[in-house]
Amino acid sequence: MKAQKKEIPLQPYVSMELLTTLTQVLYREARLLDQERYDEWVNLLAEDLHYHMPGIETRYRRDKYDQVADLNRMAYYDDSKEDLKKRLARLETGTAWSEDPATRYVHLISNVEVELTEKDDEFLVLSNFYAYRNRNERDDDMLIGHRSDIWRRVGGGFELVKRQIILKQNILLSKNLNIYL
């Protein structure tokens, strides 16, 4: 049975302190990605991470099939932490030709909202991203979309347990996706 789309009800606002802290977490993560500090980025990822960026076809409004919830579908990313580490291992080989010269990245993160979940130590964190890439002479593209995360409090910080990325492009308007969102 295909999953059906449903709206999630709005939750009460959280404290300014929690909102500010988790916003700082997202900004710091964005800085690590901009600077390709992937070892440090991986340290932010929980062992039980699910990093998911579905491929979304254009369908009519009357079509209630939930393409995001159907995990059998092709996805740009449908990764565990181990899967992401395999992808990142490519950069360590010294032969990832299309990464040298390096791509120039900027991750802009906005519209941050935090909500409590049923688990005391886990928080739903919603955000929008504008990821800009420029490489070589004039390769230039932008990726814009929504993220829905679960961050878990561990020790003095937070780790990413779940991230769902919804890119707003139908056809990916660039040759590849050498970026994490």
Partner: protein
């Protein structure tokens, strides 16, 4: 042909010398050549439009392109698949804006002309304004393609009334296609979804890469191979026991070790699965084909479909002008695989040959640069070298059909692809096409033919 009086008699052979082994770069860049490709190649070839599994129910549809012509592939309420232009005969507007779905009818947003799943005109808005004789609904349906047929799950269509049968078009290449499409009971299906990306390169660079360019893999994809397999380099190639095979412009390059492509997927459970079914595969298709499948291999179906048997990416290079193509990718799996294996294959494909895949990321950049450098008019007139393995032709091989060359590091399939391209571009009528290879299994089923020797 000569649909709009365009010059149809150009000698496209002048853009290459395949005996010498070179190709002129202008075939990748000139607007007039691209325009001719749309007429001579895309409007006359059998083109892949869908896998049957994408349209399981009556009313299911998807939209795609045949060349640059947008089409709807629809399973009508009579259960029959049809392909028609996604363009209203009234003013030409699109009648479908979704990638896929299920519909009772397709309605034009402009004047409300509505068409059923067969493409027939059912009704129009304010129909009373048409006087008797103004509008013959039976003659104003969506334009249907000339022919539709399928081969083991893959649906093809052509705009050409004079096209040979699909069986003849694929010819002896069917023997190889069975390695992918018929290696297990139940055949194949596509996993749900389709990932599309846009690459600023000529469509032929994608096709020729998959048709025969094993040579790039160990270099371009060194990083991807090591990433997916714990630091292991690209599997060694056995030049004595690997081949290029070409039929009618289609091509398959392959080793016979049986595991190389599956290894590159980086999913041990998938390797285990294929190892388990391989004895049955050998009974079904013969020993040779059970080794072709899963080896380091890649293939293209002329003009614009490619796949990797064993890695399971299936893709189409849709032309968007000489300088750009849209890449559509799917995941092809055996229908009888357990769900867990299908999911492993899907993840593996997207981690290797998705836009964020460890292999794919290094390809697009190469093809873009191979194309865009030719904006320079001096650069454009430099010939490209396609001579690798030019003297390694194998005649009358007892097992492998097609125009065969030894050693999978070779430019043979690429040369044969461009020969077919030039033949088609230059032929006023398809019947004028020179015969480059004589079929040895014409009109026969291929499953039980385990080697050509059996003929």
């Amino acid at each position: 042909m000569g649909m709009d009086g365009f010059e149809m008699k150009a000698d496209y052979g002048q853009f290459m010398d395949l005996k010498e082994g070179w190709v002129d770069r202008r075939i990748f860049t000139r607007d007039d050549i691209y325009e001719q490709e749309l007429y001579k190649i895309f409007a006359r070839s059998w083109l892949f439009v869908a896998h049957e599994s994408q349209l399981p129910k009556n009313g299911d549809f998807l939209t795609t392109h045949m060349g640059e012509d947008g089409v709807i592939v629809s399973r009508g309420h009579d259960g029959k698949v049809r392909v028609f232009l996604n363009s209203c005969p009234h003013r030409g507007n699109k009648v479908c804006f979704a990638d896929a779905g299920n519909a009772r009818r397709f309605v034009c947003n402009y004047h409300g002309w509505s068409f059923d799943g067969k493409g027939e005109l059912q009704g129009v808005h304010e129909e009373y304004c048409y006087d008797p004789g103004d509008l013959d609904k039976s003659k104003n349906g969506l334009k249907q393609v000339a022919k539709i047929d399928s081969y083991k799950g893959l649906i093809f269509a052509t705009f050409d009334n004079e096209a040979v049968s699909l069986g003849e078009w694929l010819g002896d290449f069917r023997w190889y296609l069975d390695c992918l499409l018929d290696n297990e009971d139940g055949g194949t299906e596509f996993m749900p979804g389709c990932i599309k990306s846009e690459i600023n390169a000529n469509w032929k660079f994608g096709v020729e890469n998959f048709i025969g360019d094993a040579l790039h893999a160990g270099w371009t994809h060194d990083s991807g191979t090591r990433a997916m397999n714990g630091g292991e380099p690209f599997p060694p190639v056995d030049m004595a026991n690997s081949y290029h095979a070409s039929v009618n412009g289609h091509g398959w390059e392959f080793g016979l070790e049986g595991v190389g492509d599956i290894f590159l997927l980086g999913r041990p459970k998938v390797m285990e699965y294929y190892n388990d079914i391989r004895p049955d595969m050998a009974k079904r298709l013969g020993e040779a084909r059970s080794k072709v499948f899963g080896s380091v291999a890649s293939a293209s179906i002329f003009p614009n479909v490619s796949f990797l048997p064993g890695i399971s990416t299936f893709r189409q290079w849709q032309p968007k002008g000489p300088w750009k193509f849209e890449l559509k990718t799917w995941v092809i799996v055996n229908k009888n695989m357990p769900d867990e294996i299908k999911s492993e294959v899907t993840k593996g494909v997207m981690q290797t040959f998705g836009p964020g895949g460890a292999f794919e990321m290094d390809d697009g950049e190469n093809w873009e640069n191979c194309t865009t450098v030719n904006r320079g008019v001096v650069t454009r007139h430099e010939k490209l070298h396609y001579r690798c393995g030019i003297n390694r032709r194998v005649n009358d091989h007892p097992t492998f059909p097609g125009i065969l060359y030894q050693g999978q590091y070779n430019d043979a399939n690429q040369r044969n692809f461009y020969e077919r391209w030039a033949d088609m571009m230059g032929a006023e009528r398809m019947a004028d096409m020179p015969e480059r290879y004589k079929s040895v299994m014409s009109g026969r089923e291929t499953r039980d033919i385990t080697g050509v020797k059996a003929v």
